[in-house]
């Protein structure tokens, strides 16, 4: 399954005949970097109006670079160059706000140099995994459209400040709490030791069943006690917070698919939990004993 590693809004430029001039094409688009099902890194340009992939380039580590075109007086034109060929692809940044251009470019180049190092990270206002038509109108300030949740710049700023306090050992939280919480429930309030302990107590067989999901070198036997210790650990709490924050960006469609959930599950915490309810029901249904739901 293709996994999107990076996405941001960008349009294309085309060479004028055989000259050295390039002209910007106004079509709204986005650059996506994906780990393809073939195990290779794909550099994709997607038309945001039609949602069609119009360019799909396979990149080998270290072969390509994404560089600023210094001759461009406008300053937001970039070129994808290959060391193995003379191919050139030109792009222009379409995010209304130019302040993050350098971050995007830095991330692209890091990923091009080593496909394994860049964390999931998306441009605000563009969800590469939303199926519908263009979900990002030119005025990128609009909150949400077509049912897909979009993080506003303010929210992203908040996420950034929260993430920056997550810090080592999950000792953050304090400063995060002091900033305004987005009006969405938190996964950390769902996966609390208080909620999980009764589950483990009622179903001790879970210790064996869940153990394959824990580190193989965990120096502790597969017992309910170990499970309780794990779910109370700062490392687990930090991981839950991390996933919670990631879900709040509304951009985890690609990631949740790897869990057998529909893309819609990746647009927020509640949709994620709803999709899990459905998945549980389906699995119970497959097992033959239908659950009596109201």
């Amino acid at each position: 399954m293709a996994e999107t590693r990076l996405a941001f809004k960008a349009g294309r430029l085309f060479r004028r005949g055989n000259t050295n001039f390039v002209d910007a094409d106004p079509t709204k688009g986005a650059i996506l970097l994906q780990n393809g099902e073939d195990g290779l890194l794909h550099f994709i340009w997607k038309n945001r109006s039609t949602n069609e992939i119009e360019e799909d380039l396979i990149l080998f580590p270290g072969d390509a670079t994404f560089a600023k075109v210094e001759q461009s007086s406008w300053g937001r034109t970039y070129v994808l160059k290959f060391s193995s060929s003379n191919q050139r692809h030109f792009f222009w940044m379409q995010d209304a706000d130019s302040s993050r251009d350098e971050e995007f470019v830095g991330n692209v180049n890091r990923l091009l140099a080593d496909p394994s190092i860049v964390p999931i990270w998306y441009s605000e206002g563009y969800n590469p995994n939303s199926a519908g038509p263009s979900s990002a109108p030119a005025a990128s300030s609009s909150q949400a459209s077509a049912g897909s949740y979009q993080a506003t710049p303010e929210e992203l700023a908040r996420i950034r400040s929260i993430v920056s306090t997550l810090g080592a050992g999950g000792s953050g939280g304090q400063a995060a709490a002091a900033s305004q919480p987005p009006p969405e429930i938190s996964l950390t309030d769902v996966l609390t030791p208080a909620n999980l302990r009764p589950l483990f107590a009622a179903r001790p067989e879970l210790a064996q069943a869940l153990f394959p999901h824990l580190p193989a070198d965990l120096p502790s036997p597969p017992t309910v006690e170990t499970l309780e210790r794990v779910v109370s650990s700062p490392q687990f709490r930090a991981a839950v917070r991390n996933l919670d924050m990631a879900l709040r960006t509304g951009l985890l469609g690609g990631l949740v698919r790897t869990l057998g959930l529909p893309e819609e599950a990746g647009v927020g915490v509640e949709p994620f939990l709803r999709a899990l309810q459905d998945q549980a029901r389906r699995e119970e249904g497959d097992g033959g004993d239908r659950m009596d739901t109201d």
Binding site: E102, E103, V105, G106, N107, N109, I117, V118, P119, I120, L156, I159, R160, V163, S164, L166, G167, A168, G169, G173, A177, Q180, P181, I185, S186, L187, D189, V190, N195, L196, P198, L199, R203, L210, H213, L214, L218, P219, V230, S233, Q235, F236, A239, V240, N242, L243, A246, T249, L255, T258, L259, E270, L273, L276, Q277, Q279, A280, E283, E284, M291
Partner: protein
């Protein structure tokens, strides 16, 4: 600041004694690292012999290029000193600056090769030599969480690690030195007396003077002590006391041993948890909650918790999410 390629594949790690100790183990160095909650003589005596103190603080930036108060640059420092040339490596760099200056230290072949390779290099080149050692980077990265659902990227270009800074204090040739990878040269803080507590007494004065230069509450800091692994010593003591029939003292040592072992067990447990990607586990937990009919109630509870947070926020109280 470009925020671009300054991490060079070095990932963020926690500044935790368990992480440092694991790193030392990988490097083949028989030392351990412990948190120091206090600089008083008693706390330090427990850990003797202490080979280095690592002072870790949230960097306030804009530090002057002057040597810290009371010290003087020593560009002729003959020991090991490397500059911090990439982000995220500073914890490991601090460890290197410490263990590169402990005479007669036992270490693994890769580390001793790297240290002799850097002999005679200037601090900048040493820093580059260290941070381009693939095996060292791997040892460092082995203790950072996997990036599958990491949001580190959102915090670019200024990563969390930028905000932290490590300074190492060591005894070297009769003087206390301060090794700060962001300063041009080691800072010499003058000679120490071998009697009594030895170098740590002088180091304490230097560190306390440094802390005093910050306005109260302006910086968060912690102190780590790099010291001999106490386990072999404790085991030996225990054997001797038991052989001599001194049961009461033997019991005390046994208590220390068991505390020490419990700490190692906790470190091993946490280090294992630290490297793990929890996505599958979280998914399985939630799925089982749903199957047990407990997910809806938990979701409802989370809604209440959210409401309460909003209410409290309205009242202007400071919230605490944990």
């Amino acid at each position: 600041m470009s925020g671009d390629d300054d991490s060079s594949g070095w990932q963020l790690t926690e500044s935790d004694p368990g992480v440092f100790t694991e790193l030392l183990k990988t490097l083949g160095v028989p030392l351990v690292v412990d948190d120091l909650y206090s600089l008083d003589a008693e706390a330090l005596a427990e850990l003797q012999p202490v080979h280095a103190l690592i002072f870790l603080f949230k960097w306030v930036g804009g530090e002057s290029n002057e040597p810290s108060s009371g010290g003087q640059y020593d560009p002729e420092f003959p020991g090991f000193f490397a500059h911090q040339v990439v982000n995220n490596a500073c914890a490991t760099l601090a460890v290197m600056n410490a263990i590169g200056n402990i005479p007669g230290l036992k270490m693994g072949p890769q580390l001793s090769e790297l240290l002799s390779f850097t002999a005679g290099m200037d601090p900048q080149t040493s820093g580059m030599a260290i941070t381009s050692a693939d095996w060292l980077r791997e040892a460092h990265n082995a203790l950072s969480p996997p990036s599958a659902i990491s949001l580190e990227g959102l915090d670019l270009p200024k990563t969390t690690e930028d905000a932290y800074h490590f300074i190492v204090y060591i005894p070297y040739a009769g003087s206390v030195y301060e090794l700060d990878g962001l300063k041009q040269a080691p800072v010499k803080h003058g000679v120490y007396s071998e009697s009594g507590e030895g170098w740590v007494a002088k180091a304490r004065d230097v560190i306390q003077a440094r802390i005093a230069t910050y306005p109260p509450g302006a910086v968060e800091f912690s102190l780590l002590a790099v010291h001999d692994d106490p386990l072999p010593r404790l085991q030996e003591q225990l054997a001797q006391l038991q052989a001599a029939g001194r049961q009461a003292e033997a019991g005390e040592v046994m208590m220390k041993l068991s505390n020490e072992n419990a700490k190692r067990e906790r470190w091993a447990f946490e280090n294992s948890l630290r490297k793990h990607n929890y996505l599958g586990f979280i998914h399985a937990l939630l799925l089982n909650m749903a199957k047990a009919g407990k997910l809806e109630a938990a979701t409802e509870g989370a809604r209440k918790a959210l409401q309460e947070r909003i209410e409290r926020k309205k009242k202007g109280e400071l919230m605490d999410e944990d």
